[in-house]
Assembly symmetry: none
Homo-oligomer: 228 residues x 4
Amino acid sequence: MSTLARREREKRQRRNEILEAAEAVFSEKGFKGTTMQEISERVELSKGTIYLYFKSKEELYLSVCVKGVAEFGEDLEAAARKAGSLEEIIRAVYMAYIDHSLEKPAIFRVLRDTFIEQVRQNLSPATIEEISGIIRSWLELESGLIEEGIARGVFRRDLDPYGFSLTAWRMSTALIELALLKEPGVAERGDLDRYFEQSIELLIRGARADTKPAAGGRQGKRSTSSRP
Amino acid sequence: MSTLARREREKRQRRNEILEAAEAVFSEKGFKGTTMQEISERVELSKGTIYLYFKSKEELYLSVCVKGVAEFGEDLEAAARKAGSLEEIIRAVYMAYIDHSLEKPAIFRVLRDTFIEQVRQNLSPATIEEISGIIRSWLELESGLIEEGIARGVFRRDLDPYGFSLTAWRMSTALIELALLKEPGVAERGDLDRYFEQSIELLIRGARADTKPAAGGRQGKRSTSSRP
Amino acid sequence: MSTLARREREKRQRRNEILEAAEAVFSEKGFKGTTMQEISERVELSKGTIYLYFKSKEELYLSVCVKGVAEFGEDLEAAARKAGSLEEIIRAVYMAYIDHSLEKPAIFRVLRDTFIEQVRQNLSPATIEEISGIIRSWLELESGLIEEGIARGVFRRDLDPYGFSLTAWRMSTALIELALLKEPGVAERGDLDRYFEQSIELLIRGARADTKPAAGGRQGKRSTSSRP
Amino acid sequence: MSTLARREREKRQRRNEILEAAEAVFSEKGFKGTTMQEISERVELSKGTIYLYFKSKEELYLSVCVKGVAEFGEDLEAAARKAGSLEEIIRAVYMAYIDHSLEKPAIFRVLRDTFIEQVRQNLSPATIEEISGIIRSWLELESGLIEEGIARGVFRRDLDPYGFSLTAWRMSTALIELALLKEPGVAERGDLDRYFEQSIELLIRGARADTKPAAGGRQGKRSTSSRP
DNA sequence: TATGAATGAGCGTTCATTCAT
DNA sequence: TATGAATGAACGCTCATTCAT
């Protein structure tokens, strides 16, 4: 019995070791650029052994994502449970996303890749849907905060809550991307810290109930579905 | 004489046809995911023929970059020269970026790739610097508009103009990325159109002089330079 | 334990099988003319498998060289240790060279290639020097025999011992080359056997102390260093 | 009419220019290593044009050989017609072969390649037979001199005249090969000059009627036809 | 006659995956 | 369970040859 338990434990541990090695390599080289050989060398296991735990390169990639998303989730939920005003909570969640990403760039990169078409082509729809579902649930979590803000009259009535969350997520993602470059090229490393703060400030201020509409708005002239 | 001229013209045309096919495939599959075979099938030429015009896959990729970036720049500058209020111009530039990207996703992706560490490995430092320089000049162009807005009292005095431009650029980039996915997964295609509009609206409103600071701001606790 | 040993043995064996197949094909077709495909078909392994044992076509070729040269040397030294008169020993070494070459044409060709400018381009200077060194030591070995012959008054005093060895080596090399042609074209196969015997007979007789100088000798009019 | 003549002349000239370029490249790179591209660049004609004059790479190679053989032939025949004793004539022919080879190494190399199995495989039997035929006729020419020597009692009765010529040809070929190396490795450049002289001296002395048989001769134990 | 664009078979090499041990 | 040898399809690229102009 305890033997079985130990076996089980060891098995899970092995699995985890593989996941960590894979995370590192996928993050560095991308999906296509990563070879099972390199992962296997990093965990010091044979290629064949990896296939005992994951039935394909893709499944391994998916598992890395799922693991990463789970780690992220705890941080974000903790931030959302913090005491404070609504705006403080929103900001805290946003900052938690940035902090976690900067601390674990490998996970950030792997998750980000999942939203790049080129990488997606190597993934099955099921994989994509699984990851998308988790991200969606985060966005809905934050969406709920915005809705509460609208209900309390803090935010504009015409604000799209889900759209706000999505925008905040994408904005931070793209800024983090820049911060993770060895040679940002378009911004100083130090400036980026301020930009993180300023960017969420912009969004929150812009969502406030007391702002006036921007001039010269377009009315849906363009459509994303017009793409070939 | 005219024969030579026509030959020259046809040669250039062929080269262009190859570039267009390559642009399409690189955009869909990325550098690693693209095969010379697929490009050749798309132009309906043999693989060998492509090598008459470009001496390697890498050179072909770089040529796609160079061609696209120039086109892009023209669109943005045209938008910046439009008549209208400052806010209208800022919005116009922003929308030009989005429109061009949705129409020429290949070029968009090439530009975006320049800011993804993994993909940089396929690019020469010279190319990276060239593209970074162009992006930087775009950001400075828009920065100038913001500064003018601050001077006129339209925007907050504590707003960082370059940071604003950078944020707007990164935000739109990440949203476009989402819009270019075959299966966005986290948003409906139609909703994204509204999000584009809402996102720039948020930034512009947030930049206004008459907004109050958001509550609970952090003071530089975090630092991007703490990364390994 | 014995499992490991057997594995190791089998691995070495595989490696050897590949080397033998490669030796055969390189010998027949030369470096450029040989394809990994053909080698793989000969060992009845896939192309990929070969790359598990040798990391490139070049490394495979060099491994063939190193293996063969050692075997060759043993034969020659054995011949030099045989009992008999000086002339008999010289003849034995000469014949050992021919016999070994005809039996292992691949190795012969590898050695010969080392002295063909065009083929040298595929070899590293280190490899060339290594093989040259081995040949040189063979020539010095035989040179010693000649010197002894001169000392004993069997051979002419004005004979250059190293030159004699070199001449014998080159002469046999070029005759073997002819014998290895599928279609000699300039000689019958059976005749070549006699020519081998006659050629060494000519050299030995020509070296004897009791011959008179040939008439009409030239005095260094020509110079090999006049080449561009 | 004179127009036709000029055309004919120009055509022949073009053909010759191509042959010269091909000779140079074949000599440097060997048959397989030579590309039609490189030849065409050397003559400053298009690849297509070469195919107007020669219907394949092989035919071009053959033509280079035939041209080379013809050039050689004149020198050799001139040497054979010289006044002097039989031995002097034999030596003169031998030296003419060496001198010509050192002066025109390109031709020497191309001809030599034709007697290397690896190169032969790329040639049709007809090509090989054509070249072999010419070489054979040279050997028969010299053979005649030897027979005359035997008849006059200068050379041994048991000497095989054709074998002697063949041996002399192969011996000189292999020594020239060494002299043409950038880094002979096994002999000093200056020494080779003496070796040329000594080598033919050895053969001629060895052929003399007044020498005694070498001790320890083998009796056809080995056979070149035992090869696979 | 001369061109050079175009071809396509074939090259050396890589790598996700399988399977006997 | 763990291995690592083996596979074979696919990759980027080359080059002798053809053919419309």
